[in-house]
């Protein structure tokens, strides 16, 4: 049974003064997330990631389409007891302390009182907030709030967790900790669905990703599957300090360092380059395929339409 | 800070005294009632307090008019018809002429009847109604009717029946008047009402004394064929213990043409006897404070 099945969820807002102009935040989306995987939902800002998440959480009502979460209709109240949600840039009741907040949320999630205390301590330790559990949330820094958000999302030991930009506001150490946490969740059999625009995080963590842009799904699959559709590059190193004219003619980028020259060229030019070197009697040191990063995939796939500012990292 | 206080003081001197209307805020009872948003009781307390202050201040300032007293009392009783002190105040101070009161006996009657309508079991209001008829309008018949109505109220004070009877034949008697003013004095804790009643009782004594003394002087003249030369002669003739004195402690005097006179008429604002001929009250009404 898949953890999440999104069946044509769609959202169109009516904007404008008379609310007549339709604005399609999300075109009908079909997506499946399997149990036990870490699934990345990628896209630039405004792509529709948060809209999708909000619809799954029941915060926003879809224009059409349905979804199934953990085998049940997504609107079933009992589903909520088994999922956790970390919204983007979360706010909490700032007059509560971290401990009080978790206690309150625990009550609302139906965590029995006997387990609650122990569970709160456990979770606080996991996110590194044990020292400040008695401090009011209004005094928390952005990073601390993020950790509190993660804590409340996993407090009731949900089977499926939804994170919206979980790394936002964290320093590199914090990001590392969150990545470790997500790995741990996976190891314990949980499913993690997280949205982000930080590609390196997705590359490091995700089993599979979906890429969304301007409300439309642009690709789903493992990272290898996706990047293999894009032309790769090859690195070629030969001895000497000379760049043959034929190499230059191929348009290879060359750098001389020490006693070797390094050139980067596209895969299809590989054979031509090797021939050129042999003719010049250059000694080949190595040929290495450069793994395409997700970034190039992104750029290439989304090249024809403008991306919104400041998105790719 | 000091400069601002000084300036305020100067400004106060320059500005004309606050006009009468300022006292009321709003003149119409209906409007005030609406503006109270249902909190009539509290507004009534506020207006009653202002009514008393208004009267007290003007009285203290030796003012001659109390034009806003009736509206203030009317607003108070519209807001809370069950508050009794305003009716009593109206009974004492709405009817009498200036400078003792507002000079509006008809409005006083209306106020009393309004009070009776809303508090039919309060015997004191019938007394107040009768009081107005008696003291100011001198309508002893109506006074008697009011006292009679009041005597029929359950738990009414027995003296109402007595008063009703007195109105028949003895309305003009000093004893009756004294009974009424004493009842008013004892029936209220309000400072102004008590002072006023006390003053009336003092003056009543003077009127009574002068009347009796005048009768003695007439008897003397009858007997001796001439006017007495001094009070001594009268006192001797009547076998009095000494020369009669007025409540101030001053002896009564005899004028050249045989009229009994009071030494300081100004001290007795309500007397009708013992005044020198052509006497006009010049200085304002002065109440002797209770000691």
């Amino acid at each position: 049974m898949p953890a999440i099945e999104i069946l044509g969820l769609e959202k169109t807002y009516m904007v404008g003064f008379w609310r007549k102009r339709p604005k399609r935040a999300l075109k009908p989306l079909h997506l499946t997330v399997e149990t036990g995987e870490i699934f990345g939902f990628l896209g630039p800002n405004g792509a529709g990631k948060t809209t999708t998440l909000k619809m799954l959480m029941g915060l926003v009502f879809p224009t059409s389409g349905t979804a199934r979460i953990l085998g049940q209709e997504w609107t079933e109240p009992s589903v909520k007891a088994q999922i956790g949600f970390l919204p983007e840039q979360p706010y909490f009741y700032d007059y509560l302390t971290a401990h009080e907040l978790l206690n309150y949320y625990g009550q609302l999630s139906g965590v029995p009182a006997i387990d609650r205390k122990h569970r709160i301590e456990e979770v606080l330790q996991q996110v590194g907030l044990t020292d400040v559990k008695g401090v009011q949330l209004r005094k928390f820094s952005k990073g601390m709030l993020q950790r509190a958000g993660i804590a409340q999302a996993i407090l009731h030991d949900p089977r499926l967790v939804f994170f919206d930009e979980p790394m936002s506001g964290l320093d590199p150490l914090g990001r590392r900790e969150v990545r470790d946490l997500m790995e741990q969740l996976k190891q314990r059999g949980k499913t993690v669905f997280f949205s982000t625009h930080i590609l390196s995080d997705a590359e490091a963590l995700c089993d599979r990703v979906a890429i969304i842009h301007k409300g439309e799904l642009r690709g789903v699959g493992t990272i290898e599957e996706l990047t293999s559709t894009v032309q790769g590059k090859v690195e070629i190193i030969w001895q000497g300090t000379v760049v043959p004219a034929s190499m230059k003619a191929l348009g290879v980028e060359c750098h001389v360092s020490g006693e070797t020259v390094r050139g980067v060229l596209s895969e299809r030019q590989q054979d031509a380059a090797i021939d050129a070197l042999r003719r010049e009697r250059m000694r080949l040191v190595s040929i290495t395929p450069l793994r395409t990063s997700l970034e190039s995939y992104f750029v290439e796939k989304l090249q024809h339409s403008e991306t919104t500012a400041g998105t790719l990292v | 800070m000091g400069a601002s206080v000084l300036l305020q003081h100067h400004i106060d001197e320059i500005r004309p005294r606050a006009t009468i209307e300022d006292v009321l805020y709003v003149s119409s009872p209906a409007i005030v009632k609406r503006a109270s948003l249902g909190f009539n009781g509290l507004m009534a307390c506020i207006y009653w307090t202002r009514a008393v202050q208004y009267f007290g201040n003007r009285h203290h300032d030796r003012s001659e008019t109390f034009n806003e007293l009736a509206p203030l009392l009317e607003i108070t009783t519209t807001l809370d018809p069950n508050m009794i002190p305003p009716y009593q105040f109206g009974a004492t101070f709405l009817a009498p002429r200036s400078p003792s009161g507002a000079g509006e006996p008809d409005r006083a009657i209306k106020l009393m009847e309004y009070g009776i309508q809303h508090n039919p079991d309060n015997w004191h209001l019938y007394y107040d109604l009768g009081f107005v008829y008696y003291t100011e309008l001198k309508d002893y018949k109506k006074a008697g009717e009011a006292f009679d109505r009041g005597s029929k109220v359950p738990n009414a004070h027995p003296f109402l029946k007595l008063l009703a009877a007195q109105m028949e034949e003895h309305a003009g008697d000093f004893a009756t008047a004294r009974m009424l003013w004493t009842a008013t004095y004892e029936g209220s804790h309000e400072k102004n009402i008590r002072q006023n009643a006390r003053e009336h009782l003092r003056c009543l004594k003077v009127d009574e004394d002068v009347t009796n003394l005048q009768a003695a002087v007439d008897r003397f003249t009858q007997l001796n064929g001439r006017l007495p030369t001094s009070m001594w002669e009268v006192a001797m003739a009547e076998n009095l213990r000494g020369i009669p004195v007025d409540p101030d402690g001053d002896p009564y005097q005899i004028s050249g043409d045989g009229h009994v006179l009071v030494k300081n008429p100004d001290d007795f604002p309500f007397i009708t006897q013992g005044l020198p001929p052509g006497y006009k009250r010049t200085s304002p009404v002065k109440f002797h404070s209770e000691s």
Binding site: M57, A81, F92, G110 | -
Partner: protein, 258 residues
């Protein structure tokens, strides 16, 4: 009763307390003590009247202000600050959220009123030097004031579910004022004809009737309050509040949370 609703209610109460709402009790204490002490100097013969009238009027007004000022933000603040997201992602139904908020605010006001009641009785004892049986009527007046609060809370919550705080405050306060004129409105409806009569009568019955719930002056004069009135007012307040809350729930359940 649903434990989630209770938890939301107690959290709402906690929020109000941490918002220092209960400090209003200090202002009230100063007011009522001042009145009790000075009333003898200013208004002879009506000390009791003043203390009861002033005390109960203050309880009513302070409470209405609190009910409106906190009520209007109950939902809109949570939407604006997005604290709702993590709450609604839990097994909390939207209607439970509204009811919980309502109970929390109502509870805050009941506690507040309780403290004030002690103050009023203390002041009364001070000026009258004893408390007699008819003074128990003050409790009836306080009970009616609490019923008023229930209605106002539910109305504030209703407005909060779809309107901005400023507008909600204006609406709620306007309804309070108009509701105080309920008797006048009925009188007006009686003397008009035709369409106007329809409108006036409709308005008179649709708008909250606060004049029926205001027995302050009567209680100050120790007039008896009939059991009939108590029962009917209770029913009215509960039905009216339920109606307003249902409206709030209906609106809130359809709302897309941006």
């Amino acid at each position: 009763m649903n434990s989630r609703i209770l938890h939301i209610a107690s959290n709402t109460f906690r929020e109000a307390v941490r918002d220092r709402v209960l400090y209003n009790l200090i202002a009230f204490a100063v007011l009522i003590s001042g009145a009790a002490i000075l009333v003898g100097e200013i208004s002879i013969e009506i000390e009791r009247l003043v203390v009861v009238n002033l005390g109960l009027t203050a309880v009513s007004l302070f409470g209405v202000v609190i009910a409106i000022f906190i009520g209007i933000g109950l939902v809109s603040k949570e939407i604006e600050k997005r604290t709702l997201y993590t709450v609604l992602s839990r097994p909390v139904r939207r209607w439970e959220f509204i009811v919980g908020k309502f109970l929390g605010l109502a509870g805050t006001l009941v506690v507040n009123t309780l403290f004030m009641a002690i103050g009023v009785f203390a002041a009364l004892f001070y000026v009258a030097h004893k408390l007699s049986a008819p003074d128990a009527l003050i409790v009836v007046a306080l009970y009616f004031i609490i019923l008023e609060f229930l209605i106002i809370c539910s109305l504030s919550l209703l407005f909060s579910s779809f309107s901005t705080p400023l507008l909600s405050a204006v609406f709620a306060f306007s309804l309070f004022v108009i509701g105080s004129f309920a008797d006048d409105l009925r009188g007006f409806a009686r003397v008009t004809h035709g369409i106007t009569k329809w409108f006036a009568t409709g308005a008179a019955y649709l708008l909250p009737n606060f004049s029926a719930l205001n027995v302050i002056s009567a209680v100050a004069h120790q007039k008896h309050i009939g059991v009939q009135l108590i029962l009917q007012n209770t029913l009215y307040a509960l039905v009216y509040a339920a109606m307003a809350l249902s409206g709030a729930v209906l609106i809130f359940e359809r709302r897309n949370l941006k």
